[in-house]
């Protein structure tokens, strides 16, 4: 515990800033119903009301309270991004470690499949799938998980490769340990540092990706509050010199900046993975 605290206090200013921001976002997301002044879907007044003491950030295109939707949006957007990143990590790291540990044709097959997926631009792939299947939530989640797990696979396989050739893994194999044991006890503990940093990067990617899809009207569907679609819904206001649509967009930007600052620091600390863009 003391060591962690010491570690944290030695972080550069940008990383500390990042951690504080992430903490605030998490609190807002978890306690959304307690913090928000109004309900997520309540229609309370006329459309596009200006900022007032009653509605601190005004109302949106349907007369819902902007601030409340912003707060609920934290919960929906961040929650969905976390679920997708976690699923992608589960699939990507399991297959990645398996490919590294087994090698041979399984490794070749999985790697070639991933190569193909990675050579299609992620957004185009997602748009194609969503236009065929429609934008229902399970399809949205499934599509992004598939896209993202291929990226995770690559990183995990590369890091696990270095570990899989170590003598102690060989020893474990000779001892007759089964594959799950080797993955869990020999490989995983030795690649957690790069994995953690990668989790942060993947989260940013997924978070921006969902927001972009929602902004295009193809992601999280109304009436669920979500930052990307809030930008889209209120975009016309910008031509009246009103910054309302910039607020949810800024909320997205601030969180990704914060996560990136923390990840940058973690990468520098665990080195080995410096200057990966």
């Amino acid at each position: 515990m003391q060591k962690t605290l010491k570690n944290l206090s030695s972080a550069p200013l940008s990383a500390k800033f990042g951690m504080v921001v992430i903490f605030i976002y998490l609190v807002v997301a978890i306690f959304a119903p307690l913090i928000a002044p109004y309900g997520e879907r309540e229609i309370l007044g006329k459309a596009y009301e200006l900022m007032s003491s009653e509605h601190l950030l005004g109302t949106d295109n349907l007369g819902r309270d902007m601030l409340s939707r912003l707060i609920y949006g934290a919960r929906n957007t961040i929650g969905l991004a976390l679920i997708i990143t976690a699923l992608a990590f589960l699939i990507g790291s399991l297959t990645g470690m398996t490919a590294a540990a087994l090698g041979g044709w399984i490794d070749q097959l999985l790697s070639r499949i991933v190569d193909i997926f990675m050579s299609i631009p992620a957004l185009i792939f997602a748009l194609l799938i969503l236009s065929i299947l429609g934008t229902a939530m399970p399809y949205l989640i499934g599509t992004i998980v598939i896209v993202d797990s291929t990226r995770v696979f690559r990183v995990v396989r590369a890091s696990a490769m270095n570990v899989a050739v170590m003598d102690y893994v060989e020893v474990a194999r000779l001892r007759g340990e089964k594959l799950p044991w080797i993955l869990r006890k020999e490989i995983l503990p030795n690649i957690t540092a790069p994995l953690l940093a990668e989790f942060g990067l993947r989260f940013c990617f997924v978070f921006l990706f969902i927001s972009a899809l929602s902004f295009l009207g193809l992601g999280i569907q109304p009436p669920t509050a979500d930052w990307g679609s809030m930008v889209r819904d209120n975009a016309t206001l910008i031509s009246y010199n009103d910054i309302t649509p910039l607020i949810p967009a800024g909320a997205i930007a601030l969180l990704t900046v914060a996560v990136n600052f923390v990840v940058d620091w973690m990468l520098h600390k665990s080195s080995g993975l410096k200057d990966v863009s």
Partner: protein, 311 residues
């Protein structure tokens, strides 16, 4: 190298298969999915005929692929116009926007990146690091709306909506495309700069540069005579990769600025579920993307004798 090109073509082939047969993922068929609950047998039959669902899949695929190559891409479901006619002008608009953005972005990114590598760990480098990390994290539409707010609404210098048509003069087109191009530039400069910095630093730490230092050669000469010739390959590589990135980033920027390009057509068609148009657009985007990535690889092989003649 021949192997790399063959691999690229193979990838393109597999992707065309994915795009063409992605439709088969549906539980029913495409016609049923589009018409939904209110489908009459008559309507279904007509739409199936229109989509060519009465022919076997492999023939449909070959027809489609042949159409993509010869420019006969079939009809749009939404407005029954030939897809090639829809895509043609929009494709050239998108290429115009992308090219314009690249012309601004490449010189800026290279200069900033090389400077950051030369003065690494200085205050300038750290400032640039924070700046690029920040702008990488910004969603494209955030940057675009900030630019609109300041340059189109508050200052009124540029139009906030870039409706361009072929009648406009070249200068007029440039003027109206400047804001979208600037948004794309901001998005891509950060990436390009970080990669340039990384590849130059990588190079500067190699033994022969150290040797030049030890011989007492002046820093400027080390860079121009020793470092740059070898840095060209990685830099060209960085540019090609980022152009590929730019081509995809164009989709969102086009939607923000209501720019009549391919990206907007793609997004519109996805929400209308106009699958043939989506397939054609995806194929074009994917091919450009793969082609740029492929040329990045080929260039780095051709310019590096050690890769060109592997042991």
């Amino acid at each position: 190298m021949a192997q790399r090109i063959a691999l690229g073509l193979l990838t393109l082939f597999v992707i065309s298969l994915l795009i063409a047969f992605g439709v088969e993922l549906l539980p029913g068929d495409l016609a049923q999915e589009i018409l939904g609950q209110g489908a009459t047998p008559e309507g279904l039959r007509v739409l199936r005929l229109q989509l060519g669902l009465d022919t076997p899949p492999h023939i449909r695929y070959l027809d489609w692929l042949g159409g993509m190559v010869t420019g006969d891409m079939g009809l749009s479901l939404a407005n029954k116009r030939p897809i090639a006619e829809l895509i043609g002008p929009r494709l050239s608009n998108t290429l115009f926007l992308g090219g314009f953005a690249a012309m601004i972005a490449i010189p800026i990114a290279l200069t900033l990146g090389i400077l950051a590598a030369l003065y690494r760990n200085s205050l300038y480098d750290r400032g640039v690091n924070i700046f690029t990390l920040t702008s990488i994290s910004f969603p494209e539409f955030f940057i675009a709306y900030i630019l609109i707010l300041f340059f189109a609404i508050k200052l009124g210098w540029f139009p906030g909506i870039s409706n361009i048509s072929s009648e406009l003069s070249f200068l007029d087109k440039l003027y109206r495309t400047l804001l979208p191009a600037a948004s794309l530039t901001l998005v891509v400069v950060a990436h390009m700069m970080r990669m340039t910095r990384a590849s130059i630093i990588n190079l500067l730490s190699s033994p022969y540069i150290e040797m030049a230092h030890l011989k007492g050669i002046k820093p400027l000469r080390i860079i121009t005579r020793h470092a740059l010739p070898n840095a060209l390959a990685p830099i060209i590589n960085v540019i090609a990769i980022n152009l590929a990135y730019l081509v995809v980033g164009v989709v969102i920027v086009e939607v923000v600025f209501v720019y009549p390009g391919l990206g907007q057509l793609l997004v519109d068609s996805v929400s209308k579920r106009d699958v043939p148009v989506v397939q054609a657009c995806s194929m074009i985007f994917a091919s450009v993307y793969i082609f740029l990535n492929l040329s990045a690889d080929v260039i780095s092989i051709v310019t590096n004798p050690r890769l060109l003649y592997p042991r």
